[in-house]
Amino acid sequence: MRSSSYSVLPARALRTVVVLALTAGVTAAVPAAQAETSTPPDAPATAAAVAAKPYLGWTSWTMQSSKYPGLNPKGDYSYLSEANVIKQTDAMAAKLKKYGYEYVNIDAGWWMDWSWKSQFDEYGRQKADPVRFPSGMKAVADRIHSKGLKAGIYLPVGLEKGAYNDGKNPIWNTDGCTTGDIVHDDLRTTNGWDSAYKIDFSNPCAQKYIDSQARMFADWGYDFLKLDGVGPGSFKDGDNYNNVADVAAWQKAIKTAGRPIHLELSWSLAYGHVADWKKYSNGWRIDTDVECYCNTLVTWENSVDDRWDDAPAWTDHAGPGGWNDLDSLNVGNGEMDGLTKAERQSYTTLWAIAKSPLFTGDDLTKLDSYGLKLLTDREVIAINQSSAPPAEPVTASDPQQVWSAKNPDGTYTVALFNLSDAPASVTANWPTLGFKGRASVRDVWNKENLGSHTDKITQALPAHGSRLFTVTPRGTNLSWTAYEAEAGTNTLGGNASVADCSACSDGRKVGNLYAGGKVTVNDVVVAKAGTYQIKVAYISGDSRSVLVSANGGGATSHKFASTGDWGTVNSVHVPVKLKAGANAITFDSGTGYAPDIDRIDVQKTP
């Protein structure tokens, strides 16, 4: 299982502020019950399956979280208001709807006053703050629907402390259930901020409480729910923070609520529970907040650039019905975003090819021309929405890296990234995609056909820059020869040892590659001298580097992205210069920790 061993991040510290605010809300008096409708809501306008493709939309959280001047004049997170949501709805309808943008998502705070004090109805359900949302939540959803868009809403997981009311609040539509019935006797807390009591689903009343919330949202007309602070994840681990039962209850509740509701989970969901997230939800945030909680919406280092390391492990788990959520896409206004043009393009490129939902947190009334171009590029959106799998790295996760996905029509979506702080050239070698020879290349962002390229394409990329290509192969297939790392003819050094590995080819791998541990794959025979892109199958529960060398020559360090856990194999390519005849290729941990190696595949000719 993946533990939340993150170091302290600014975002986390700022999250703490939210915790305190929520805790303070416990002492608030429970307000009088709101008028409720018990009539099932109308069927939604569209009947398409939820999350058949990554959704496109907007979230309120990005601007709520920012210290950008003027965004939150009534205190932290005060951007969220009825007027602002309607303003953004209108802007989305006018500028983005025709490109597929659909969801207007209200984030945390709709039930809190400007001082972040929460309010609940007589059934312990969150109640709209009458100042933030004077027309109520249903009216806002109606307004969003009137523009042909879908409405999203938000909840933290668990029974919020303010909803508990000494266990005396009745659960709506039950015969005698109270909030006291649905929590543990010791009032153990849960979620990423410990702002709620953990719900005890062994008591049938618990499901009823979730049903009551789901029904409320369906009645109001909401099409989307972000359930936040969910664990394992959200920087929490351990039984109290295991919210799989909550998520399952939500899925069950939505089924009977009378309206399809997309269920999105947040944040930094544990990789070890990916099967649960896939089973019960439509999307899961794989990482911490992209927002910087600073004077801009985001910054490159905090934490946009983390995604290149963190997304690869999740790639195989995304698909229709559930997607890897890389968080909001804030590229619409360079000055507010706090990013360079190159960074904005790279950000959009990764989100698109990784098939992340594309929801922006920008002020849609202030998109600059470049931002509008990025957010509305029909080819890029089509790549995101296509039936191809998400792209993943085909090279090591070095500062210059290449990602690719094979499309159903035989073409490849290929992205070049330069994550270093200075311009650099980046090369996509066709063998890393799976073929060699010629290919025609289309530059997707620049709307330009770059003609035929043999064996590779090299382009100059700005600092933190990218290129997005559609590559149509016109060459030949590759033929690989596999060499198992654990083969008896190889040479192990230091602590390195052979271990069983059910996911590995031939069921074994070489592990314990640390502090000088190394494995040399001997007798790798090639027909002629040259630089080969060898395919390395590896296992690594976290991102690790390894020194790769051939025939005792100088070594090059390559970083391999995490495979998510120590039972999953992934492959990337690294360049190695080989001589004609037999070669020895070494993977050395140096002074650090290297991934386990399953096997390598090498072509006969480069």
Binding site: Q345, L461, A463
Partner: protein, 791 residues
């Protein structure tokens, strides 16, 4: 060996004429001055193997990393780093004389010099030029390529945007005294954008085409730009020049200061208006066609570049396919040599010297290339190795004319250095003062500026090292004119040491010797040691050079006898019975850092010549020097590796000498020691922070030559330390040899095949290869070709 005397070659005569002409010119003109329009030559043909002289890259530089990614331009006085970014060309421009600070003659409480940017001063930027072409953002172009053509002195970049190929070429012209940027395209493209020329010191821009300002020290500086396009519009709008729809565009930039190399005038030319002069120069250049400007520059540049050539063998096609940055990585990773890359590394050093050392101040710690106003160590002149190392390769690689900037600098500073020494050196607070109380001549601080001032600590032996460096240029060229110029420097340094040396009786003996007063062996160990090897060796060489000079010029015979007598009494280092090393201090103990960067105790091995592995030096001294060098190790900063390599070459250890060169080729990443993307040498000041220090870019080429040819007056040795990597075949042409000769040398299978020795003033020398030696006698201007070394 075969000897076939030849008539003097036409080329040799021409080069002699060039040298004399330049020297005369430089001696009389201030740094930035008006002069008549240059001759406009016809096209100069490219060398046949032009591609070997081309470095290329597949990415531009950006503003944040220009010191590692910018490509250098320079005309010997003005220099620039260029980003070559398609959407925004950026040039950071300066002039060798753009310095803050001043005389700095108020010592600190410890009797040493202040070392700040306002008192001592700092080399700094002069201007910043941008050419914005918004439609050509790097993210929107393909096929980007960037080239530094070392053979022609041209920086080019090209890329494709919407099917149009755009090409950009730039250079700094010495004859026209301007920087030229020429933008062209093929395929029906147009250039639209903005040009801005600004200062970097908070100047308020008031006009688009020029600006002027004055530094707090009173130095006036100014810059000017003009642009010309065809097929579109070019116009001034406020503080920028806009261009639109231009099929091609020529941008001309000029810049300078009112610095004058004249201590009496306070190092200023009061009559010089830098802004007006820059405007005059750019307007004059802009009346010429782009083709004429380019031809003029290339002809001028090639006259220097073509004086020397080097081949270390052929690279493979696979190596040639890689760009320069990839090639550096491959050279570090793979065991195979890359002979063409290795030769190009040397030629890059020559490009920097031609671009950085002509007609103005000499090359400082960064040459003419800055990425900010405040370079580390002030971008100053460090006199305890760095400025000397900058010029070790000048004569060795056919760039003798570029040496003159150093000579002229020392001469211009001498009145002030003498005055400051007389007034301040014996300050009672100065721990290095002469304990005798006597004081004469001149010396310097570890750092010097262009205003006659010193910085950091006193550096008594610095005068001797400057003098021996100037002396070597005389040994290479045999130029009496040069000798006459440097004679006052030599004599003044001798006077300083005659006053400073102390007589002492060696313990346990009755032998009285002369030792240097309290000093610091650079830059480690005890601060107050008497008789440090560094000073003893340098003064021994200085005294010898002076006596030769006095005899040659028939001057001061009596004084020369006095100096010769002092020299005979000088203590010279012994080998420590404890460590087996040649002693650095008059102590058997290792009082410093074993792997310290400086090789001060070996200054008599290189650049000095006292310690020779040829039987003429006692074997224990050679062994002691070898032991120190071994202990110092193979891993240090770039310049320190270069010095180590030179010492190993002198000891005829080709493997170590070559390995240190290869170590310097290592790509620098995250500021580590090694070679940057743009081939600048990076010095890691702390983990993660590297700075550019140019000395290794010159010291390393000097070491490469020293492996191929050793010389001292009267003796030339071929291939003394030829590394296996270059042994198969190669050639070197135009190498100066001390004693007044020039050598062209070819080899195959590790042995010379032909050596042609020209006299540029020398008359007699032995030429040796291995155990074979031959004595040549030539008239000045004559040449011989030697063959059949295998026998």
């Amino acid at each position: 060996m075969d000897t076939s005397p030849n008539e003097p070659s036409r080329r040799t005569l021409l080069s002699l004429a060039t040298t004399a002409g330049l020297t005369a010119t430089l001696g009389t003109l201030p740094a930035f001055t008006a002069f008549a329009a240059p001759a406009r030559p016809a096209e100069v043909p490219l060398p046949a193997d032009a591609s070997r002289h081309r470095l290329w890259w597949q990415a531009p530089g950006d503003e944040g990393s220009l010191i590692e990614q910018g490509l250098p331009l320079g005309n010997g006085r003005i220099g620039a780093l260029a980003s070559n970014d398609p959407g925004r060309e950026l040039l950071l421009i300066t002039d060798a004389t753009m310095w803050t600070g001043g005389l700095n003659d108020t010592l600190d409480k410890d009797g040493q010099f202040p070392y700040g940017r306002s008192d001592f001063g700092s080399f700094t930027l002069l201007a910043r030029l941008t050419v914005d072409i918004p439609d050509h953002d790097l993210g929107a172009v393909s096929g980007y390529r960037r080239t530094l053509d070392l053979a022609q002195g041209l920086v080019t970049s090209s890329y494709v945007r919407s099917g149009v190929t755009y090409r950009r070429e730039m250079y700094a012209s010495h004859p026209d005294d301007v920087i030229v940027l020429h933008f062209t395209q093929s395929g029906g493209g147009r250039y639209t954008g903005t040009i801005q020329l600004t200062g970097t010191h908070g100047e308020n821009p008031t006009a688009a085409e020029s600006f002027e300002a004055t530094l707090p020290n009173g130095l006036r500086y100014g810059a000017a730009v003009t642009a010309r396009g065809s097929g579109g519009k070019v116009g001034v709008h406020g503080t920028r020049i806009d261009f639109s729809g231009c099929k091609d565009l020529t941008v001309v930039v000029g810049a300078g200061t009112n610095y004058a190399p004249d201590a009496e005038a306070g190092f200023r030319d009061a009559s010089l208006d830098p802004e007006r002069l820059a405007r005059t120069k750019v307007r004059a250049a802009a009346t010429e066609s782009a083709g004429a400007l380019r031809r003029t520059h290339v002809a001028d540049y090639r006259a220097l570049y073509g004086r020397f050539d080097l081949s270390l063998g052929a690279s493979t096609d696979a190596q040639r396919e890689l760009d320069t940055w990839e090639r550096l990585h491959a050279r570090t990773r793979d065991p195979e040599p890359d002979p063409e890359l290795e030769a190009a590394y040397l030629q890059f050093g020559r490009y920097l010297m031609i671009s950085g050392s002509r007609g103005s101040l000499p090359l400082n710690l960064q040459g003419l290339w800055l990425d900010g106003n405040d370079p580390d160590w002030m971008g100053d002149y460090h006199t305890d190795i760095n400025i000397q190392m900058n010029y070790w390769m000048a004569d060795r690689t056919g760039l003798g004319p570029c040496f003159d900037a150093l000579t002229d600098y020392c001469l211009a500073q001498l009145p002030s250095w003498t005055d400051i020494t007389r007034r301040l050196f014996n300050d009672p607070r100065n721990r290095y003062r002469n304990s005798s109380g006597e004081n004469a001549g001149w010396t310097v601080a570890i750092s010097t500026n262009p205003y006659g001032g010193g910085g950091w600590w006193w550096h008594p032996a610095g005068n001797a090292w400057l003098c021996t460096t100037l002396w070597e240029h005389y040994e290479y060229t045999g130029s009496r004119e040069h000798l006459k110029k440097i004679y006052p420097l030599l004599k003044g340094a001798c006077e300083f040491w005659a006053a400073r040396l102390l007589a002492t009786t060696l313990p346990g003996t009755s032998r009285e010797v002369l030792v240097a007063d309290s000093d610091w062996s650079p830059e480690h160990g005890p601060l107050d040691a008497k008789g440090i090897t560094y000073a003893q060796e340098l003064v021994w060489a200085l005294f010898g050079n002076y006596c030769t000079a006095a005899a040659e010029l028939r001057r001061d015979t009596g004084y020369a006898d006095t100096i010769a007598a002092l020299r005979r009494r000088l203590y010279l280092p012994r080998v420590s019975p404890t460590t087996g090393w040649l002693e650095e201090w008059m102590s058997p103990d290792n009082l410093g850092e074993t792997t310290h960067r400086h090789l001060s105790p070996l200054v008599g091995l290189f650049p000095g010549d006292r310690i020779r592995p040829d039987g003429s030096t006692p074997s224990d001294i050679v062994a002691g020097a070898t032991a120190v060098l071994t202990a110092r190790g193979m891993e240090s900063f770039g310049w320190a590796n270069a010095w180590r390599s030179l010492c190993w070459a002198r000891l005829k250890d080709a493997d170590n000498a070559y390995q240190l060169f290869v170590n310097n080729l290592r790509p620098s990443t995250d500021g580590s020691n090694g070679t940057a993307f743009n081939l600048f040498d990076i010095y890691e000041v702390e983990r993660g922070r590297g700075i550019f220090q140019i000395d290794a870019n010159f010291g390393t080429p000097a070491a490469m030559v020293e492996m191929l040819l050793y010389s001292r007056p009267g003796h030339i040795e071929l291939l003394p330390a030829l590394p296996e990597a270059w042994a198969a075949s190669g050639s070197i042409r135009g190498v100066a040899a001390r004693g007044g000769f020039e050598v062209d040398l070819s080899w195959r299978d590790g042995r010379p095949t032909e050596a042609r020795v020209h006299s540029v003033g020398g008359r007699t020398t032995t030429v040796a290869y291995g155990d074979v030696s031959r004595t040549l006698t030539l008239k000045p201007g004559a040449a011989v070709t030697l063959k059949d070394f295998a026998r």
